[in-house]
């Protein structure tokens, strides 16, 4: 069973008098365990695709299945449930809450998923250990370097053992040494069977993924996989 399957997916925005087709008949299938990079210039529709993949937005038309369920037209509350329980986000700007400690930031998705209230601190500790940030658990984000912040954000993304990690330009704010460390962390997670989709415009970053999807004008222009 595919993890995600699109058929003829479209997203149309109305901006004043103009209608913008951000997605124009996209078909795509992602299987569990895949490591996918979505590449494309700005305005190509890759961000819109990621928002829909991440249950932050709903498509205007087409079919969208997630783990075999039709999820194209579900309520906002239902979408929050998917975000809390099935998706892990990693952002370019890290988006850690500045006043919370690293550990408290990592706990957030557990709080909102309403699962395992009792063992949440243990689960957060496991996630922090996985990204090598145990020694920073009680620090607040402003005391961390960029690479450390992104590793804390990845710990937050994996803490609920999501079906899919979505990373939106995860290395955009990092220096080249940290880019490789973060991408190696993703590669390691992928090797453990974690499905990962990275949205980027950086060919070097895309090179870490096994499958590369190029987008242009709201359509998929190229879909290549490199052999194992």
């Amino acid at each position: 069973m595919p993890l995600v399957e699109f058929e003829n997916l479209s997203k149309i925005y109305r901006m004043g008098d103009e209608t913008v087709r951000a997605l124009d008949g996209v078909g795509l299938r992602i299987d569990p365990g895949e490591f996918v990079a979505i590449l494309g210039p700005s305005g190509s529709g890759k961000s819109t695709l990621m928002h829909i993949l991440g249950f932050m937005d709903s498509p205007s038309g087409g079919r969208l299945q997630f783990e075999g369920n039709e999820v194209g037209r579900i309520s906002r509350a239902h979408r929050s449930w998917y975000r809390a329980n099935r998706i892990g986000f990693v952002f370019q700007a890290f988006n850690l809450l500045p006043r919370l400690t690293v550990a408290d930031n990592v706990v957030l998705p557990i709080v909102y998923s309403r699962s395992g209230i009792r063992d949440r601190n243990a689960r957060a500790a496991t996630a922090l250990e996985r990204v090598g940030m145990t020694h920073r658990a009680t620090h607040i984000p402003s005391q961390l370097s960029g690479g450390e912040r992104q590793r804390a954000a990845i710990a937050r993304a994996i803490v609920n053992t999501p079906s899919l990690i979505l990373a939106d330009e995860p290395t955009g704010n990092l220096d080249s040494r940290n880019v490789d460390r973060i991408m190696e962390l993703f590669t390691g997670l992928s090797a453990e069977g974690q499905t990962i989709v990275v949205v980027t415009h950086d060919e070097h970053v895309a090179g870490f993924a096994r499958r590369t999807i190029r987008m242009c004008d709201g359509r998929i222009s190229e879909d290549t996989s490199r052999p194992v």
């Binding site: 991440g54 932050m56 509350a77 929050s80 449930w81 809390a84 988006n95 809450l97 957030l108 909102y112």
Partner: protein
């Protein structure tokens, strides 16, 4: 259960936010603090005032007291109205003889302000001629000596009981009993001096009762007024259950002494009681209005701050939503924060009110005006401030909850 957990988390988070922005939080609480403090202080003032009135009402016989009031006779009796002798001492004798439901009879001949002099010292005070019953009706206590007795009435003796104020002024060392005093040219023997009425913190009616001279009613009629007319007459009924019967009894007796002319009315204290209740109600409304407005202003302040806070934290809202927070979670979080501000403000307000009331008590003591610290008012003020916080937090929290996650994440 889950929302309670979220609310609890919101409260903890809210405390953190309040602590992180101490000065701003204090400013946003200012309205609530002042509102609660003003509420408690005003309730204290009004309760002190009303408490004094209630005490006066009870001290003057309460609901068991009946007052005989003079009225114009009805039109059909106008031409024979002059046949009635009016309110005289004969009324007292008739009621005493004919109404077993009446326990005390309290007539008064008011003899106006008179000069009381002793040994070259003199003071002016009202002189009143009364029966021994006066002592029971007003529950008068004697500092020394005795009150007017039945023999004094029978003999119309030239004896006087002095109020504590006169006693203090003419006999600072005490031992007034047995001494002679000259009241407006007539010599009287002092038989007793009264205890002061009311506490030192009571003013008004109570302190006026201390500046008075009381003589037997018969003495007053014989030596001063020269007739048996009374200025006021009231009776105290033994049992409130027979109030209606007593009114009828007294009315029937008076119809005889007044020769069938209805130039009187037996009034109960119900009117005064109703008046008292009206006053109590209007005070409550005035108080509620002022307190309500100031707390409303406090609520607007909190709403304003919450709207600003939410604008500052759009990014945070986006992040929380991205990791799975529902609109409800965000709503409860910001509502809890508004409640934290108002509840902390309410607590500070209650503390401030204690200081305010104590300060006012210090300041107004000289004018003999009572202010009480009302704990129900503190509780009400506190609960009200929490409710205001809840109400003023709803709109900002709703705005936060409805924010679009993508736009919120993009917000710089």
């Amino acid at each position: 259960m889950n929302w309670m957990l979220t609310f609890y988390g919101g409260l903890v988070n809210g405390l953190g936010e309040v602590w992180a922005h101490k000065f701003r939080s204090l400013l946003s609480m200012a309205g609530i603090i002042l509102g609660v403090a003003a509420l408690v202080a005003m309730v204290g003032v009004v309760q002190g005032m009303l408490g004094e009135m209630r005490e006066y009402f009870e001290r003057t016989g309460g609901i068991t007291r009946l007052t005989v009031e003079t009225r114009e006779p009805p039109d059909e009796q106008a031409h024979i109205a002059h046949l009635s002798p009016g309110m005289t001492f004969r009324d007292v004798e008739a009621i005493r003889g004919g109404s077993p439901l009446v326990r005390w009879i309290d007539p008064e001949v008011s003899l106006g302000w008179r000069r009381f002099s002793h040994d070259g010292e003199r003071v002016n005070a009202p002189l009143r001629a009364v029966l021994p019953d006066r002592r029971e009706v007003l529950r008068l206590e004697l500092r020394e000596g005795r009150f007017i007795g039945d023999l004094d009435i029978a003999d119309a003796s030239p004896v006087v009981v002095l109020g504590s104020w006169i006693g203090d002024h003419l006999f600072p060392e005490g031992n007034a009993v047995g001494k002679r005093i000259n009241i407006h040219g007539t010599n009287f023997r002092i038989i007793g001096v009264l205890e002061p009425m009311g506490g030192p913190d009571q003013g008004g009616w109570f302190s006026r009762q201390n500046r008075v001279g009381l003589i037997p009613v018969t003495t007053g009629m014989k030596r001063f007024s020269g007739n048996d007319r009374l200025n006021s007459l009231s009776v105290q009924v033994a049992d409130v259950a027979y109030l209606e019967d007593a009114i009828e009894q007294v009315s029937n007796i008076l119809m005889q002494t007044r020769r069938g002319i209805r130039d009187f009315e037996v009034a109960t204290m119900e009117e005064q009681l109703a008046e008292f209740r009206r006053m109590e109600r209007s005070f409550t409304f005035a108080l509620g209005g002022v307190a309500g407005i100031s707390l409303l202003v406090g609520g607007i302040g909190i709403m304003n701050v919450m709207l600003a806070v939410i604008n500052e934290r759009i990014r945070e809202i986006g992040v929380r939503k991205a990791v799975g927070a529902r609109g409800t979670d965000i709503f409860i979080q910001f509502l809890a924060e508004a409640v934290v501000i108002s509840v902390v403000g309410g607590m500070i307000g209650v503390m401030a009110s204690v200081g305010l009331v104590v300060m006012m008590q210090e300041l107004v003591e000289a004018e003999q005006f009572r202010i009480v610290l009302s704990s129900p008012a503190m509780v009400v003020g506190f609960l009200f401030s929490a409710a205001i916080g809840l109400a003023s937090g709803v709109y900002p929290a709703m705005r936060a909850a409805r924010m679009n996650v993508i736009e919120a994440l993009r917000y710089e």
